[in-house]
């Protein structure tokens, strides 16, 4: 080998991570992101040290601060999105105007992929990437656009660094304040953080606590999720889209089936008669037996209709027995109409001069109708048109089916609505955001 010195960066002899001592408490500190790190906050005494040209200088003692134990310990490694990350820094930030609203931020490092963040707020986690692009804000600041995706303004405020331990690639200290604006498009939040020196955009993706637990092999359970996070995906967002589609499919199928069935067995009037409500003497009822008629179709229902265009301010009702002339099998039903109208502060009318009854599963064969017609005296003498139609596809079937098919998507849609209302309650754009969500749902 020529030369007196070993190569400075021989891949066969990777140098160890640099170990230094805290200049405040002398505790050993090992740096994981040498070359990037410019701030180290000692996890033992919480002193904040500046690193410049390989020299440390003390910036701030955090002696009065109560020690905070991160949920994911510094130095932990875990795989997220297929990349191994090491937790190298932890900080807590609080809302400037509400010191009780505190959230955690974990700085992750991988020598190839650089830096990411994990944030924990009210038990909800996000995986955050700093952006080098500058998303564009709309003039009214209601939207921001990143990679052609629109994000809706959700909230803005100021945050203050409350507690910090570990390594950071920028100079950070307790008390640092930034203004932030959040724009959401669940499961993502686009955030702009600004101070007098710089402005940085980042993209946060909602991540389930269980993913964090298994990625970092955590033994302790992560805190329980409270409320709805701003970028939490709605439980119904994707499901409901799919369900509406499915419901549409079944509705079309059902309509096609109904059309097919009625084309196979077109409905046909098999009995028709006009009877006069003409009871004898004091009696208010009239007994009539129809001529025999034939039911020949297997499919569809039997529709019995009663109509009287001359019925006025009166009622009438038919109690009928549909009797099979051979087997004597009987199906009883009642059909009635009533119609009232007059002038009190203008014309009014109620009731109907027409009504029908559907009978299903009537076997083929010859039948008669044994009818008892009753009514009030005012109905005396009026003609009643009755008819029997076979092979009818009753609309009630269709309506019931539509209701059943739409019930689940409707419930899920309502659940989504409720979820969004909870989400937008936390927003400074509350009303508008939520209402826009509703209008968007119908787009």
């Amino acid at each position: 080998m020529v030369g007196k010195f070993k190569k400075p960066f021989d891949p066969k002899f990777p140098q160890l991570l640099e170990t230094i001592s805290c200049i405040s408490c002398s505790a050993p500190l090992s740096l994981s992101a040498v070359g990037h790190t410019v701030t180290v906050a000692c996890p033992y005494c919480q002193s904040i040290l500046d690193l410049k040209e390989n020299k440390f200088s003390l910036v701030l003692h955090q002696t009065k601060t109560r020690k905070v134990t991160p949920l994911i310990p510094l130095g932990s490694r875990g795989k997220l999105h297929g990349v191994l990350w090491e937790v190298i820094g932890f900080m807590q930030r609080r809302e400037a105007i509400d010191s009780k609203h505190v959230w955690d931020e974990y700085l992750l490092f991988n020598p190839k992929k650089g830096f990411r963040w994990l944030t924990q707020n009210q038990g909800h986690w996000s995986y955050v990437l700093s952006l080098h692009e500058n998303p564009i804000k709309s003039k009214d600041n209601k939207y921001a656009k990143y990679l052609e995706e629109p994000f809706k303004f959700f909230h803005s405020g100021s945050s203050i660094v409350k507690y910090v331990i570990g390594e950071f690639y920028w100079r950070v200290k307790v008390g640092d304040e930034v203004r932030y604006s959040d724009y959401i498009n669940p499961p993502e939040t686009l955030t702009l953080e600004e101070n007098d020196k710089e402005s940085i955009w980042s993209l946060a993706e909602y991540i389930e606590p269980s993913t964090i637990e298994s990625a970092f092999n955590l033994e302790t359970r992560l805190p329980f999720m409270k409320g709805v996070a701003q970028n939490q995906p709605s439980p119904s967002s994707h499901v409901s889209w799919y369900l509406w589609w499915l419901a549409g499919f079944f509705i079309s199928l059902f309509i096609l089936l109904t059309l097919f069935l009625s084309s196979q067995s077109p409905s046909k009037i098999i009995y028709e008669d006009t009877i006069f409500f003409n009871p004898q003497g004091e009696s208010s009822s009239l007994e009539i037996v129809s001529k025999p008629f034939e039911i020949s179709q297997k499919m569809g229902a039997l529709k019995f209709s009663l109509e009287s265009t001359q019925l006025a301010n009166a009622w009438t009702e038919i109690e009928a027995d549909l009797i099979n002339t051979k087997s004597g099998e009987t199906r009883s039903f009642v059909d009635g109409i009533e119609y009232y109208s007059g002038y009190d502060d203008g014309y009014w009318a109620e009731g109907s001069q027409f009504d029908s009854v559907y009978l299903s599963s009537i076997p083929q064969g010859e039948y008669i109708l044994d009818m008892k017609v009753i009514g009030d005296p005012a109905a005396k003498g009026i003609p009643l048109k009755i008819s029997v139609e076979e092979g009818v596809q009753p609309l009630t079937n269709l309506c019931l089916a539509l209701f059943l098919i739409l019930l689940i998507p409707l419930l899920i849609f309502l659940r989504g609505l409720f979820f969004e209302r909870k989400r937008w309650k936390e927003s400074s754009a509350e009303q508008e955001g939520f209402l826009e969500f509703i209008s968007d749902s119908w787009d």
Binding site: G3, F5, F9, P11, L17, V34, G35, N110, P111, H132
Partner: protein
């Protein structure tokens, strides 16, 4: 490829690029200048402060399908940290720069200043400049200091040399940078690249990773 002998320690020194006129001897840290096919001793370069970069001299990769090899490095520091500028030799013989800062990678090529380019002193944060039909905005102006170098270098790198670095960005991944040392500026244009898209090989092995 040109083979030389270090006038200081006698080690073999190789120039891979035809355009580089300086190199740092990897054995004795001498800064060597090439002229008239001779190497001249031009000072001693301190060992670079260690970092976690996985790129090293000899790392190969591609930028927009063009294969390149890393042949040199410049380390630039400023008040809030430092970053690496890796000099690359492309298959075509051209030079490129792979910058590595805060975990981001940016690949650029040096261009010449457009004729109507404003005076550098007039540039301020937010100033707009058209470059290659793209509207760039000055996003950052910082005072920098050269923290050293290694391998082949196209110009004399003096440790402690102070200068100015001006970053320009678009709304997309485009990037441009102006570096001013000794009163003369150089302009680079390129874009942010994902680590995976660089298809890097022969990376430095980092213990524990």
């Amino acid at each position: 490829m040109n083979l030389y002998i270090c006038p200081s320690c006698g080690a073999e020194v190789i120039f891979k690029s035809r355009f580089t006129s300086y190199t740092v001897c990897s054995f004795c840290q001498s800064l060597l200048m090439r002229s008239d096919d001779q190497l001249h001793f031009d000072g001693t370069m301190a060992l670079l402060p260690s970092d976690m970069s996985v790129v090293q001299i000899g790392t190969k990769g591609t930028f927009l399908q063009t294969p390149f090899e890393v042949i040199g490095r410049l380390k630039v520091a400023w008040n809030e940290g430092s970053w690496n500028e890796w000099l690359t030799l492309e298959e075509t013989g051209a030079q490129g720069w792979l910058a590595e800062a805060m975990g981001f990678y940016i690949y650029t090529h040096e261009i010449s200043f457009p004729k109507d380019f404003p005076n550098l002193k007039e540039l301020d944060i937010g100033s707009e400049i058209m470059l290659q039909n793209l509207t760039f905005k000055v996003s950052d102006i910082k005072e920098v200091v050269c923290a050293g170098g290694e391998g082949e270098l196209p110009f004399q790198v003096l440790e402690g040399l102070e200068g100015l670095s001006i970053d320009l960005r678009t709304a997309s991944e485009d990037f441009s940078c102006i570096e001013v040392f000794n009163g003369s500026g150089r302009i680079f244009i390129g874009r942010y690249v994902d680590f995976d898209d660089l298809n890097l090989s022969n990376l430095r092995v980092i213990d524990g990773w």
